[in-house]
């Protein structure tokens, strides 16, 4: 087994084992374990990335069992990118949680479990493992939200119900595909489906069920009501993970099913109405999400609504996936936007959580002039917001650029208009969140509870994520090359 295959397996199992171990360890040891595992996963992902960028897909059949029944892990370009983003954001948030006094003891087991689930989803070769991984992520995520104290239990429960409903739909969909194609492995299923045009309606039904189920997990517009209270009331270390990473798992599975399962011949074009429906919901999500974000008076709900809006962007590009010459550009655009959003939103939520811990509230009025005491945190948040708006040197920009060019190629002018409106609205709520913090004088120059020295580690974590948003901005070309590896077309 080569180093890459070893790391493929380890990247899933290591956090899982650590999660179990953490349950047994005393509190301080958990922090050390958490940070250690974060470093390990970063290393493993690095190894995998080197392998994949070199151009070939790493495959590993656990225990040697062949595909239909055995667990088959596969790491192609798409999964490596998502793994990398999760590793980066996860590591920074872990350091933040380790340094922050407010982290709950149970955080470590749940977070490491969630991380294991995420990695499982990203590298799983077959639908069943994806389902199991998603469930693990769902369960731990709900539990993580519930750590936020009394105010977060009701939203956690609501999140639970939606997660279960979504996964059941996914389960039925997967079952349908298995019953039609006889295999769980994505690649094999694709070949079988290609061979049997008569199975198209069943595949179509399965895909629709899977799509609706995942949209619930992704909180696409009509089904987004659970996301805002859940992400807003979650503790300061958890919100970035939820908005940045957890919803990306659902998107990953959606992309896998849409692009890998159905080849671009007949079946995909039958999905046109579904794609256009998603596009419409996405457009509505962008506009309503941004408008609602403009109305919020506290940082975390504002960030949560911004997530709703950003989710909308990914679905706006879905109709383009059906167009022949625009599919690739749109795909790169969606992935770049998702990755950029992951990092930027994590930075924003981390900053908001940090200020909430420091000032006891995330009401923007009370946080006026916070920039003077906590320049790092506010600067990190502003860089994050730049990434969210999609201004240059950020993956947001790269994503919007690719989607815009794909839209022009496919003559979908409405997408251009929507992107423009979305950018302006997001600039609106960015200014609404940032101007008081950065520019105004603090009403009560009382000392903030957290030590004011600029070298505080949480502050550094926030600026770290902000800088990451900027640095990854140059990664546009890297993403395009990575996605070539194991691409469906």
């Amino acid at each position: 087994m080569t180093a890459a295959e070893l790391s493929l397996g380890a990247v899933v199992l290591a956090p899982l084992l650590a999660a179990a171990l953490a349950a047994a360890l005393p509190h301080t040891a958990r922090r050390a374990l958490g940070v250690g595992i974060a470093a390990l996963v970063l290393l493993l992902t690095g190894l995998l990335a080197v392998q994949t960028v070199a151009g070939e897909v790493t495959e590993l059949a656990l225990g040697g069992y062949p595909a239909p029944l055995g667990i088959h892990l596969r790491a192609d370009g798409l999964s490596v990118l998502f793994l990398g983003m999760t590793a980066l954001v996860g590591a920074v948030v872990t350091v933040f949680a380790a340094a922050s006094r407010h982290t709950h003891q149970a955080f470590w087991t749940l977070w490491l479990g969630c991380w294991a689930g995420l990695n499982a989803v990203f590298v799983s070769g077959d639908l069943f493992n994806t389902y199991v991984g998603l469930e693990l992520v769902g369960l731990t995520a709900v539990a993580l939200v519930a750590l936020g104290g009394r105010g977060s239990w009701a939203p956690a429960l609501r999140y639970l119900f939606i997660a279960v409903l979504g996964s059941l739909l996914l389960l039925v969909g997967v079952g349908l595909i298995v019953s039609v194609t006889g295999t769980l492995d994505v690649v094999q299923a694709a070949e079988v489906l290609a061979g049997r045009p008569d199975a198209a309606p069943a595949a179509l039904l399965a895909l629709t069920l899977i799509t609706v189920g995942l949209c619930m997990k992704l909180a696409l517009l009509p089904m987004h009501a659970w996301l805002v209270p859940a992400h807003a009331s979650a503790p300061s270390a958890v919100s970035p993970l939820l908005s940045g990473l957890v919803i990306k798992a659902a998107l990953f599975v959606l992309l896998r099913c849409w692009l890998w399962l159905t080849d671009s011949s007949g079946a995909l074009s039958a999905l046109a109405p579904l794609a256009w429906g998603l596009g419409a919901f996405g457009a509505a999500a962008v506009l309503i999400g941004s408008v609602m974000a403009l109305r919020q008076s506290a940082l975390k709900p504002l960030a949560a609504y911004s997530t709703v809006a950003q989710v909308g962007y990914w679905f706006v590009a879905f109709p383009l996936l059906l167009e022949e010459d625009a599919a690739e550009g749109a795909f790169i655009g969606i992935v770049a936007l998702a990755l950029g959003h992951g990092i930027a939103k994590a930075g924003l939520f981390l900053g908001a959580g940090y200020l909430k811990e420091a000032y006891g509230t995330d009401e923007i009025e009370q946080l006026r002039g916070a920039g003077r005491q906590h320049p790092y945190a506010v600067m990190g948040m502003s860089l994050g917001l730049v990434g969210l708006i999609g201004l240059p040197i950020s993956l947001g920009f790269t994503g919007k650029w690719n989607i815009a060019t794909a839209a022009v190629a496919a003559e979908h002018w409405w997408i251009l208009v929507l992107l423009a409106a979305g950018t302006l609205l997001s600039a609106g709520y960015a200014v609404r969140a940032l101007a008081p913090l950065l520019l105004q004088e603090s009403p009560t120059p009382g000392e903030a509870r957290i030590s004011r020295n600029y070298r505080s580690v949480p502050g550094l974590c926030v600026i770290g994520l902000g800088a990451l948003t900027l640095v990854t901005g140059f990664g546009g070309v890297l993403i395009a090359e990575a996605l070539e590896v194991g691409a469906p077309w």
Binding site: I332, G371, R372, P375, Y376, M379, V386, L391, P392, I393, F397, T398, K400, W401, N402, A404, T405, V408, A409, L416, A420, T423, L424, A427, V431, A435, L438, L439, Q440, E441, Y454, F474, G476, V477, A480
Partner: protein
């Protein structure tokens, strides 16, 4: 001669160093504590000085020997971030770096003892990074990236004082600038898809020419989007609303930003668009030049008329900027070689002259607390040096000979008569009259206006009522420097490295 100064291997590094210089300055300054004034001033001044030296070292190479140092970094699939130094880039980068050095000195003096200096100077350096980036941009995408960056970093500068008025002004500015930025983004996307990645080339980008011939409709639509986006920053009439309101910013901000960086970035964009993206002939065949020319003419007259109606010094200067900046657009869209040269040289001259006036406005506000024009009465006796600088700047704006303003007005006049639109000379003449109408009373008030206490003893023999007030050197030195440049650029206009000669050299390149 330059090749021994820069080993050929090192040449592509120069533009990156230029951009990175002020970026590192910003990164160093942001975390600095407020009280470390000395260290912060040192970082600022050293960075600015090095940049000016680099530009000076580049001039002979780029203008004389025709070197084009270029640096490309992969950014988007299929399109790179390209930084290239050509005479026009050097022109604008030279202007902004020299004036950045002077404005830094001015700002250090101006902000002494005021809060938020680290934040101010951090964003100040970022703003210059963006400006230099815009000037060195080698293709349309890089231009767009720095164009948007400029919008972002100037927002906190406009809202620096943090009170309600400046926040409101900053929000209006952001709304305008981002709107413009999005328009440019859409234009760039559309152009890139239809005409391939657009590199700036002397006679216009290759792909664009074919696009213009194959489907003129889309070419015109794209031009409208791009020019409209850039018109916001160059404050062409319907889109100029943000400039006067942004005058609440501190004096060094309104000096550097609204006289040089922001406004010039927009106009520089239009120059690039007309000359290096479409190429002047293609743009002429598409017929897009004339409407832009008409818009610029309307702005010139409207700006001057509005300036006439203002009572506050900075608002009058702001509207004067609105009018003067459109001279450059006027020159470039005239479709005549002399006109283009005039437009380009005015890009620099207007920067020098307008920054002098803003510096003086800052000085008057600081020393005399004079904000209204009527407060200036008799200031000449109390602040002789800044009044002298103001007079030079004002004469420059009107276009009287010894100053740089005359040189560009003369060149524009010739260009107008040489171009298919001779009526533009009328616009220039009317605008000069309006300029005189609103600048001469200010100068008259400065020197000959009877200050309040002179009023009653007018008939009696005049005692020297106004003892000269102490004009802070840190504010005065840069003002006198820029006033000196105004005279120098006016008098020594035909020296080979003077702005006029470089502008002529560029415009010859444009016309092929």
């Amino acid at each position: 001669m330059v090749s021994d100064l820069f080993p050929s291997a090192a040449l592509p590094v120069v533009p990156v160093v230029m951009v990175a210089l002020s970026l590192t300055a910003a990164v160093l300054i942001f975390p600095m504590a407020e009280r470390r004034v000395r260290a912060r001033s040192w970082v600022n001044l050293v960075a600015a000085a090095i940049k000016v030296l680099l530009i000076a070292a580049l001039v002979p190479g780029v203008v004389g020997e025709g070197l084009r140092p270029e640096f490309a970094a992969p950014f988007l699939p299929g399109i790179d971030l390209v930084l290239r130094v050509d005479p026009l880039a050097l022109f604008f980068a030279g202007l902004s770096s020299i004036l950045w050095l002077l404005t830094t000195i001015y700002a250090i003096g101006y902000l002494k003892g005021k809060p938020h200096q680290s934040r101010f100077f951090g964003f100040f350096s970022l703003c210059v990074t963006a400006t230099v980036g815009i000037s060195f941009a080698g293709n349309l995408l890089t231009f767009l990236v720095f164009y948007e960056l400029l919008t972002l970093v100037t927002y906190p500068l406009v809202a620096h004082w943090g009170n309600a008025k400046s926040l409101q002004a900053a929000r209006i500015y952001l709304r305008y600038a981002l709107g413009g930025g999005v328009a440019v983004l859409l234009g760039v996307v559309w152009l890139t898809m239809t005409a391939g990645p657009v590199d700036f080339a002397e006679g216009g980008a290759s792909g664009v020419a074919e696009l213009a011939t194959s489907s003129p409709g889309t070419a015109v639509m794209i031009f409208i989007l791009l020019a409209g986006g850039m018109a916001v920053k160059s404050a062409i009439v319907p889109l100029h609303g943000w400039l006067p309101t942004a005058m609440v910013a501190p004096a060094p901000v309104s000096a550097l930003l609204h006289a040089v960086a922001v406004v010039k970035a927009g106009v520089f964009g239009i120059v690039r668009l007309v000359d290096d993206v479409y190429g002047i002939e293609v743009a002429w065949q598409l017929g897009v030049l004339t409407p832009l020319l008409v818009a610029a003419s309307v702005t010139v007259i409207y700006g001057s008329y509005q300036a006439l109606r203002q009572q506050e010094i900075k608002r009058r200067l702001a509207f004067s900027t609105v009018s003067q900046v459109s001279y450059v657009v006027l020159g470039v869209t005239m479709f005549s070689m002399a006109g283009t040269a005039g437009g380009m040289v005015h890009l620099v001259h207007q920067g020098i002259m307008k920054i002098t006036l803003f510096f003086c406005a800052g000085l008057f506000a600081e020393v005399l607390g004079a904000h209204k024009i009527s407060d200036l009465r008799g200031a000449g006796r109390r602040m002789p040096w800044s009044s002298a600088a103001f007079t030079v700047g004002a004469f420059g704006m009107i276009g009287l000979p010894p100053t740089a303003g005359f040189v560009s007005k003369w060149q524009l006049g010739l260009g107008a008569l040489d171009s298919p639109h001779p009526w533009v000379l009328g616009v220039l003449v009317v605008s000069s009259l309006l300029n005189a109408a609103y600048f001469l009373p200010m100068v008259y008030n400065l020197w000959f206006g009877a200050s309040q206490q002179d009023e009653h003893d007018d008939a009696t023999h005049h005692a020297h009522s106004g003892t000269p007030a102490r004009e802070p050197l840190a504010l005065l030195a840069p003002t006198l420097c820029t006033a000196g440049f105004t005279l120098l650029a006016g008098l020594a206009a035909s020296v080979w490295f003077a702005p006029l000669e470089i502008a002529r050299f560029i415009s010859e390149g444009v016309f092929g």
